[in-house]
Symmetry: C2
Subunit: 337 residues, 2 copies
DNA sequence: GTGCGAAGGTAATACGTATGACGTGGCGGC
DNA sequence: GCCGCCACGTCATACGTATTACCTTCGCAC
């Protein structure tokens, strides 16, 4: 009968009649030929019998690494970031790494009292420098859709191309006065959107909002009740766009008749409301970033890919768009029996 | 200048001119009066100066615990589970615990090759027994909306009450033939929904579907093209309901005129499409479960709360319902400057 | 002066693993 | 017969922390 404390490699050694070092050598599989097959069999049998699993804490201490990656994002509740997580976690798992999520501290610049575990690397959505301080030491880092001019490797979306397509689309429809429901987060990708918009549209009014339905509703209401009401609302995120859509409806405005609305990300929300939006391959972002980080950990120089961002035209701008039924980016479904 | 390797407590000791044990005693704060204030000051100053952070791996090994909790869920991309995560992570952080997510392995019953870190406890959505095997040892566990008759403590929703309200609502509207878009997952809470439905509605036809937009669309299409088409579709999840809604629209059916549709969870999706749904306080589920787990870890017996599940009536069943603007359960928004 | 407790510190150890430094037989070559 | 080498194991150690047991010094009562 097993004791109430998990068996250690020493226990396995005793059971197999060998030394602890032998157990370690056999089970790590890194020492081919170092131990006779006969002995190896005994060790493996004993380990199996006792249900031995190496103690991760001890291994981490000994090896000085944890095979754990931290994903730093504003919030996991945004479907976009959830998809990023999925992509990253999948690649991580394939390479024997774990992924822990760390969502931004409530007070920006607050002390970074991250997870208890040490980490080998970090995937981070743009964040204040201050947040990065307080780490035990500089850590290999890949940024997510962040400043490509920065020093850290990064995986980007072609935001500028997407904004070109988007503003072109709106211009074709005759929209010249545009309201921008901007994400109230100091993140490169959002600044990029604002800049691209300002560069191409002469007449932009902006309202900032935290990324949520309610704040989007409020910001859009402010924009739509101006005396010089914009004819189109560009939102930095699908969630904000849903808030904007509801705000328009609540004001008795027709979409897209009275006001066109666009989102960003192309999560299921956009599909549901037939929102014109920019499709961002979020899952791929996570996966590519994780691959880059693995490169970094292996001493290789990771590529800095730019992933395509595709304009998806739906009824919230163009009433004649076909009724789509599965055009959004949906994470691969999982079933368990 | 700090070396390229992070400072250890020994380094701090050397810098402060004391022994390593003293450093540990001072910084842990568990030995009031054991060290003179004068010495303590020196130690703290040295630690600050060197930027000392204790090595988590060493601490975990020494203490035999990790202050890390694992959250086991089918997928993080479902907004419902993301909210659960948020609630759990918040409580965990308040108590100095970390939370790691583990999503179900692709093959059910596959080996549980969980995270590399050892964990102190587990929060789990219902899962196959087999998945629990392969852990290093039995681990304190709180279940999420799972069989209350089971041995593990659990936090539940009042699903039965919700289904009573829901079926009552549909009956009031004259619906007697109901299609059930059931989640194709072997999870207690979904079985519970099916059972409650069958018990109260004489005429139910069921189609099973993995939880996703596409599968919901397909399952609903099958139901709506039957010769004996149901007048209402009850979906186990908002995502499925969105698929069902689109399926109805694609078939040229009016919602709720030709077919009523209900979801489950009350995520933003339901709000967006004006779906009648059952509001589940997901964030609270995560938070309460985590509190229960902390009880367990402290040797206390956790309560087994039953959280209310509230029927939210919107236009997908009742055209006269008011146009809601913020009635869904939205996680607290975060902003970073 | 002796005993003795308290205050304030240090040495030593254990946690469980991985690995570099050592045996130790056996066998072939000269 | 001796040396060297190979095959196969074991010993010892280090990773960085928390804690137990110990040691020294000092003040004070008797």
């Amino acid at each position: 009968m097993p004791a109430d404390t998990p068996p250690t490699s020493k226990d396995v050694a005793a059971a197999a009649g060998v030394s602890q070092s032998t157990v370690s050598m056999v089970l790590s599989g890194k020492w081919p030929g170092r131990v006779s097959e006969r002995t190896a069999q005994k060790v493996r049998a004993a380990a199996e019998r006792l249900g031995y699993r190496p103690n991760p804490a001890a291994r981490n201490l000994r090896l000085g690494r944890t095979r754990t990656i931290m994903l730093v994002i504003p919030t996991i509740t945004a479907p976009f970031f959830a998809s990023v997580h999925l992509g990253a976690a999948r690649v991580a798992a394939e390479h024997g790494f774990s992924l822990v999520v760390f969502t931004w501290p409530l007070e920006p610049g607050g002390p970074f009292d991250g997870p208890q575990e040490a980490i080998d690397g970090m995937l981070a959505s743009s964040m204040a420098e201050a947040t990065l301080a307080g780490m035990r030491r500089p850590v290999p880092l890949v940024m997510l859709d962040s400043d490509p001019a920065g020093t850290a490797p990064t995986v980007n979306f072609d935001i500028d191309g997407a904004m070109r397509d988007l503003t072109g689309h709106l211009a074709d429809l005759g929209h010249h006065r545009i309201g921008h429901v901007a994400a109230d987060i100091d993140v490169w990708t959002f600044q990029c959107r604002a800049a691209a918009l300002a560069a191409r549209v002469p007449d932009v009014v902006t309202e900032r909002a935290a990324i949520s339905f309610t704040t989007g509703f409020e910001a859009a209401t402010r924009l739509l009740t101006r005396h010089d009401r914009p004819t189109a609302l560009v939102c930095d995120d699908d969630t904000l766009a849903v808030g904007a859509y509801k705000a328009a409806r609540a004001l008795g405005l027709d979409v897209p008749g009275d006001v066109a609305i666009t989102g960003f990300d192309d999560m299921l929300l956009a599909e549901a409301l037939e929102l014109t939006t920019v499709r961002l391959p979020a899952e791929q972002l996570g996966a590519r970033a994780m691959l880059g980080l693995l490169d970094l950990l292996n001493g290789r120089t990771p590529p800095r890919p730019v992933l395509p961002a595709e304009l998806v035209i739906r009824r919230s701008t163009s009433p004649s768009a076909p009724l789509t039924t599965d055009g959004h980016t949906e994470p691969a479904a999982r079933t368990a029996s």
